[in-house]
Symmetry: C2
Subunit: 196 residues, 2 copies
Amino acid sequence: MSSTIPTLGFAILSVLARADSTGYEIAGRMRNPVARFWTASHSQIHTDLRRLLAEGLVGYTTAPGPGPQEKKIYSITGEGLEALREWVTEPPRPQPERDELVLKTYAAWLADPAALTEMFRTALRGHEKRLAEYEAAWASVEKDAPAFGTPRFGNMAALRCGLTYERHRADWCRWMIDQLSRSLKPSCDASYPSEE
Amino acid sequence: MSSTIPTLGFAILSVLARADSTGYEIAGRMRNPVARFWTASHSQIHTDLRRLLAEGLVGYTTAPGPGPQEKKIYSITGEGLEALREWVTEPPRPQPERDELVLKTYAAWLADPAALTEMFRTALRGHEKRLAEYEAAWASVEKDAPAFGTPRFGNMAALRCGLTYERHRADWCRWMIDQLSRSLKPSCDASYPSEE
DNA sequence: CACCACTATGTCAGTTCTTACATAGTTAAA
DNA sequence: TTTAACTATGTAAGAACTGACATAGTGGTG
């Protein structure tokens, strides 16, 4: 029964539940901002698609493709949909999440404050950019709130998480930059120009 | 020069920069709330310690241990500290982060709203619990703010991120639960008791 | 006294995932 | 016209990681 499908398998099923796709398209959809919380290389996706196929959770039809092989358009089966539905409500383990920036922060006391500030400014720019994108997307989704039971509900919910995540993250980066400037300023006040 | 040390290697060095430890202790320290952003099993840590040793980034002294083998107390070398310092300010790639709960959310439109609500309530409890822990720790760290250049600065900075992260996450879970109840209420008003 | 949790190191099999390579057609820009 | 980007599938080597097993002493609980 439970043949230990890896999480990536369910990510693939989640994409196929919305639209039939080739392996290549699945990889692309996973890279899009609303869904980039479980990305993978196309090679891994092809590997997992073969497994899902063997378990009867997906099927495919072929069409002439650009390369030497035929193009395979995958679709989720009834069994796949059932497996996905069951998985969705199983509580995930409270993800200890691997976060390289926080790891660097943990070791930040060892490093050069100026270089650190630069790094956090770079990170901040990234977060602000994504926040702006999410806010624009949010404004358009808010106009007519999608009903539960439609894929757009999933989009909205994931987008909401991304939005508040980027906001938290940007705030934290700003706090870090401020902390670093505080630890710098007192000792070398005059060496900085007065403007911001 | 750059022999492609995996991120876990730097996580280990970050721990050793604070205190000499056995492999077992490193695994334990990585599980602790202030540092649980790059956990690993002890077997992986032992493997990576051997590599770091081969590269001269750590050294060790032995002491009688409980098991058949001797206990090895690892410490970071000058070279290790230098490598760690360099790595800290290198910008990490904007982590696409794998987040199982958000992935489930993306597919949430397929599932049973009641079961989903239950899952988010469970997640919310976890976030609230950790938030309370972090807030208590924050109160004690705030009294005397650690200076840059001391390990406690790293603690404070990582804690600050954890704190605002849990807050954002708990808020989002509450928003989700509210959304789910909205989508449930209108269609089946009478089937629910009037109390909250 | 039995059992469990903790300290401590290590091996090994297997899974997951990344990176590079290989092939090949279309379309758009330089 | 060449070059690059995009579409599309696949293999294969190897890195990263997990989980189970193995060994063995100490200390606490029932």
